[in-house]
């Protein structure tokens, strides 16, 4: 139950997070990340580490380089 609550919290956080969107890069990335969330407690740990890196990188990218790559 505790695990489910954590997952649910995480799900809500991701759904609400204002993440940037671009249309056409390997759509598998998100699906692969999802597998970590779904894989039980161990998977959750993998996901948090994964997502943490991503958030940190994203924040850094935004600070250092505001020019988006052109389509």
């Amino acid at each position: 139950m505790k695990y489910m609550a954590v997952v649910l919290g995480l799900v809500v956080a991701i759904l609400l997070a204002p993440l940037p969107a671009h249309a056409y890069i390997d759509p598998n990335s998100g699906s692969l990340m999802l597998q970590a969330i779904l894989g039980g407690a161990a998977g959750l740990a993998v996901f948090v580490r994964l997502y943490w890196h991503k958030l940190v990188r994203m924040i850094r990218l935004r600070k250092s380089n505001r020019v988006e790559p052109s389509d």
Binding site: I25, S29, L34, A36, L38, G39, G40, A42, G43, K54
Partner: protein, 466 residues
């Protein structure tokens, strides 16, 4: 000239490719695929899978290197597969057929993981049918599992199996048109857009649908391989095992429920009395038993009564009906009680499966795949002509193009079923008259036997193409 013919629909996997040699289905393998095959051939998964019929019967083919390299020097070995009697596609299957193929896919992944292998894709097109039993035909999709490797087929599983099944189970939305229109299936984004707030409470929708769509969007500008990161973060085989198990529980619970009255209507809804029905069965039985044919088509098969008669005397029967529920019922019945040489498929002849995919060659139209040696066309022509507005001569010409023998039933405008079709329609069907039908039939076919049922509005013809 080489006597090896490449299958034009088999190109997506660079490590293996299907080709034909002396009428048999073969698969060419790269060095890597050959190593994977040699590993697979020794596994319990493969031995049990081929013994039970879950995996297509496959052996190493004795083809010389020189002959094989006439296709491409990339190929170093080849396999030969058992031939599937009729190729069908997911957009022709009923709900439970797609569900059973999905469950088999998950079981195979789970068993493969036990022996440190995995399937590199989850395409529903990798499955075919032996009667009412699904068979995995893409033996080339098994590979050895590498450390930290995720379940790469997960997204494809959602697009090809999970979303179509959920749409039918949760929203009573048939997946056929959508699957036919999109060769890679339903994307998470589209699925997430179509579900309602209420649907998000249903099992699997929020996580596999909405969350996946969201994650896809958020990672769309990824510049680093998520796969590499997963590996670094400690992704393990056990996670895939747990995911596959959870997915199996989800798929197993998906049910397409229909009102019982709708189901029950099938058995009783015909306008024959019993003696006419027996006479019709006997007529079909005589034609079906005249000689043993490889493939019989039953067009507009409905409950499948006549398919079963044909199946007694012939190798294989493909039973087609535009009505999804009729095919679902027939499939569930065949799965339970057999016979195992009938393949039920959803197919509307007035809008039949076309050639699809890359250069229109990946998936073939119904008639491009195979032709029957005998066609049953019972209580169907009034639907074709009056419901679908297809001219009588056009339809008969098409039937003649199939090339085999034909059992066809003509239903006159005095029949209660035809009257029902014309209730709210102006009768513009001047070609739909028995003498005109017989004249056209005679142009393309030699009529061997003709019998009018006692009710007087229905006539059966057994005919042979000229």
């Amino acid at each position: 000239m080489s006597n090896l013919q490449i299958e034009p629909g088999s190109f997506r996997d660079r490590e293996s490719r299907v080709f034909y040699r002396s009428g048999r289905v073969h698969r060419a393998l790269s060095t890597r695929a050959l190593a994977d095959w040699e590993t697979l051939a020794e596994t319990q998964l493969f031995k049990q899978g081929s013994a039970s019929g879950a995996i297509v019967d496959t052996k190493r083919a004795e083809i010389g290197a020189e002959e094989l390299s006439s296709l491409s020097p990339h190929w170093v070995g080849a396999l030969v597969h058992e031939t599937i009697p009729f190729i069908s596609y997911p957009y022709e299957w009923s709900f439970s057929m797609l569900k059973d193929a999905a469950l088999l896919q998950l079981d195979l992944v789970a068993q493969a993981l036990d022996e440190d292998m995995i399937l590199k894709d989850s395409s529903a097109f990798n499955f075919q049918w032996q009667g009412a039993h699904p068979v995995l035909i893409d033996v080339g999709s098994f590979k050895r599992l590498e450390t930290g490797e995720p379940w790469v087929g997960y997204l494809q599983f959602c697009q090809n199996f999970l979303y179509p099944l959920m749409l039918t189970a949760y929203k009573d939305l048939a997946f056929h048109a959508w699957m036919r229109g999109a060769i890679d299936g339903i994307t998470p984004e589209n699925f997430a857009n179509i579900v309602s707030l209420r649907d998000t409470m249903r099992a699997g929708v929020l996580v596999h649908g909405i969350l996946q769509a969201k994650l896809q969007k958020s990672t769309a500008n990824a510049t680093q391989s998520v796969r590499g990161e997963l590996e670094n973060a400690g992704f393990k085989k056990e996670l895939i095992v747990a995911n596959v198990k959870r997915m199996r529980r989800l798929v197993e619970k998906l049910v397409w429920t229909k009102d019982e009255s709708v189901w029950a209507a099938y058995a009783t809804d015909n306008s024959y009395d019993e003696s006419d029905y027996e006479a019709k069965k006997a007529f079909v039985g005589r034609a079906a038993a005249e000689r043993r044919r490889h493939v019989v088509w039953d067009l507009g098969c409905n409950t499948g009564d006549f398919s079963k008669i044909a199946a007694e005397h012939n190798d294989y029967v493909v039973s087609l009906d535009a009505d999804h529920l009729a095919i679902e019922r027939l499939y569930l019945e065949l799965k339970e009680t057999g016979p195992d040489n009938i393949l039920p498929l959803v197919n509307n002849l007035a809008d039949s499966s076309p050639n699809l995919g890359w250069r229109g060659r990946e998936r073939r139209s119904l008639t491009a795949r195979a032709k029957p040696e005998l066609t049953l066309c019972l209580a169907l022509i009034h639907h074709i002509v009056i419901t679908a507005n297809i001219p009588v001569d056009d339809f008969v010409e098409w039937l003649a193009g199939l090339g085999g023998d034909l059992v066809i039933e003509f239903v006159t405008k005095d029949d209660p079923m035809v009257k029902r079709l014309l209730l709210n329609k102006e009768d513009i069907y001047h070609d739909y008259e028995q003498p005109i039908f017989e004249k056209v039939l005679g142009e393309y076919f030699e009529v061997l036997e003709r019998k009018t049922l006692e009710m007087g509005t229905r006539t059966l013809y057994y005919a042979r193409t000229r």
